[in-house]
Symmetry: C2
Subunit: 376 residues, 2 copies
């Protein structure tokens, strides 16, 4: 059983965990707080893959004060030797009396074994306190551990009447600068972004994270984590270009950060950071999206941020690969002749219509930001 | 100058004013509070056209305690003999020392004369305290007094991707029961509703207010105002039917409440509550919408609630007759082949796109309710 003191300390641990969100991928973001007789004696969070886990930082700070203390950790302590020794052992060695975890680690290599190690060593170990909040910090990681696939968020930008561009293709700018900064934040939070060649070609888009365009709160987060503009993590840019339409002169290739190009054939000559890859096509002659997602999962992509047109967005949705939609909706009207958001197979009854669930609605500058989850 | 005590009492007066919103049309909803040495001695609100004004109720309750008191009133006291004597004179006669009004009455027959009467009688009279909140209670009345036209709110119901019906016309139900109850509330708040024959024919819609489908808060408001189910005020239903497609058997004609039918020719035989009317057509062969709105203004329609298809909604917007949009957005996806929200003239540059301003965004059951105002 948990009490209100437990909730207070776990909130602090969650706050710490959130600090790592821009840098820990492919690892989860985890925070840890160690409390001795109601007094915080150590805290820490995981900063980047390969570096120490949250528990290590917290135990170091606590030193001998960890003996008999309670450790609050947002994810079950690991039980396996990875790049670092198992944290469950570290907590045992430090003489901690009680461990409270927010969520169980769905990583098949952990999955309850961390808690079991602690219990076996006579430590009072429990999980489940504020687990929803903990899940939300690592939506992508949790999803990949459970399914092998990245969690997919499709970004949309449209007018009040659901239009993304005029009939002639013009679309600059539907949404305002605050919404575009928010997109930068989502890119920075993601392990990879996915677009089609059309999206790249339409605006000569570079699809990278640009330090100067990040919201100030995100810049501050980076600085706090000890990394700054120069340490900005660029998500892997995944671009579908099965007709080999992208050419070397594009801005996309001039920006730093790795690119995975799904092509019809490999040409080379696009730069060192570009990996070309030919995947088998599906029966409809288009890229096999489930295969692509499986490949990205294999590459440890936790969270995939999609910025694409109506066809690719619709195809991902129809293939049941989408977890969430983020719609930036501008207070504009573009009319029925303008372009729409999702190409879907023909629907003849309302009962066939894909249903989602609203999760959030807020203002971002002059626009609204609406978030919906696909129902499981 | 106003102080925090003033704000407190004006808030109470605004709360009272809101109680009349379903019944005072074509009059504005007004509340009044009379305060003597920090103690409330009388209060009241306008309940329905022809009945006493808010000040009359409040002065009656205050009796001799009104002498030397402060009167808070949400709209400038009237200065003219209408169906009731001028309230400014009533306040003078009662010996009130100070009058605080939220907004000046834009009615050309008042327009500052009420305040002037008070000042001339030696009363300290000021307007402008919480005037935005007061305006919001009487958006329609204020707009009609200033322009001669009703304030037009266009209701929309669409999927996340801005679609109102499948390609085959099916649309039942895109939004959930809570959104439909909220529509009932808006109908009940409006002096008139406007639809096209298509909308009536598609669902054999009656477009009336149904007591059982009103939100409980609205039912409670009615009861508090002394009226109940039987006293429900039905807005005037205005239907554009220039091709005379509506026939006697429709539900529309079976429901209580007045109907104004804009027809190609007058046929009669539709029932006592139906007024047929032939208006000249515009150059494009369609009904002249500015002319219709002017006619509705002449009939003292303050607030017009539009439930129509993409063509009529688009035509109203293009004619600059729309003040506000209310969009009920369901967490569903209907695809680009489905029907859209607004038919607009061809747009070739983003600079031609009509811009609005988001005013509100909230959840209504499983749907979102988004409100946008047209920029002036």
């Amino acid at each position: 059983m948990f009490n209100s003191e437990d909730a207070r300390w776990m909130s602090r641990a969650l706050e710490l965990a959130r600090r790592g969100r821009f840098t820990t991928s492919p690892n989860p973001s985890v925070g840890c707080v160690i409390v001795q007789n109601g007094i915080l004696v150590g805290e820490g969070y995981h900063q980047q893959a390969g570096g120490p886990h949250a528990e290590v930082f917290a135990l170091r700070q606590a030193g001998p004060a960890a003996r008999g203390a309670t450790a609050y950790v947002t994810l079950e302590p690991c039980s396996h030797h990875g790049r670092t020794p198992p944290c469950a052992q570290g907590l045992i060695d430090a003489g901690v009396a009680r461990v409270v975890a927010a969520s169980v680690d769905p990583n098949p290599r952990v999955a309850g074994r961390g808690l079991a190690m602690l219990t076996d060593a006579g430590i009072d170990a429990e999980a489940g306190l504020m687990s929803e909040a903990a899940e939300a910090i690592n939506t992508g990681f949790m999803h990949r551990m459970r399914t092998g696939l990245p969690f997919v968020t499709v970004k949309l930008a449209a007018s009040l009447d659901g239009r993304t561009a005029l009939a002639n293709g013009e679309s600059k700018w539907i949404t305002g600068p605050a919404a575009r900064r928010d997109v930068q934040r989502h890119r920075a939070l993601s392990c990879a972004t996915l677009s089609g060649a059309d999206t790249v070609l339409t605006d000569d888009a570079s699809l990278n994270v640009r330090w100067d365009e990040l919201p100030e709160s995100v810049q501050a987060g980076y600085s706090e984590a000890g990394s700054a503009a120069s340490a900005l993590r660029q998500p892997l840019r995944v671009i579908i270009d099965t007709r080999n339409r992208l050419t070397p002169g594009l801005k996309l290739f001039a920006q730093p950060g790795p690119i995975l190009l799904l092509r019809g054939e490999i040409t080379g000559g696009l730069g060192e950071q570009v990996e070309e890859c030919v995947l088998p096509l599906a029966d409809n002659g288009r890229l096999d999206l489930p295969l692509l997602l499986a490949e990205l999962g294999r590459r440890q992509v936790n969270h995939l941020w999609v910025e694409a047109g109506a066809r690719l967005s619709g195809a991902l949705l129809s293939a049941a690969l989408v977890g969430e939609l983020v719609l930036y909706q501008a207070p504009k009207l573009m009319g029925t002749a303008s372009r729409g958001l999702f190409e879907l197979p023909e629907l003849t009854a309302m009962s066939q219509v894909p249903e989602l669930e609203w999760r959030d609605c807020r203002r971002v500058g002059t626009d609204l930001k609406l978030t919906a989850r696909v129902k499981n």
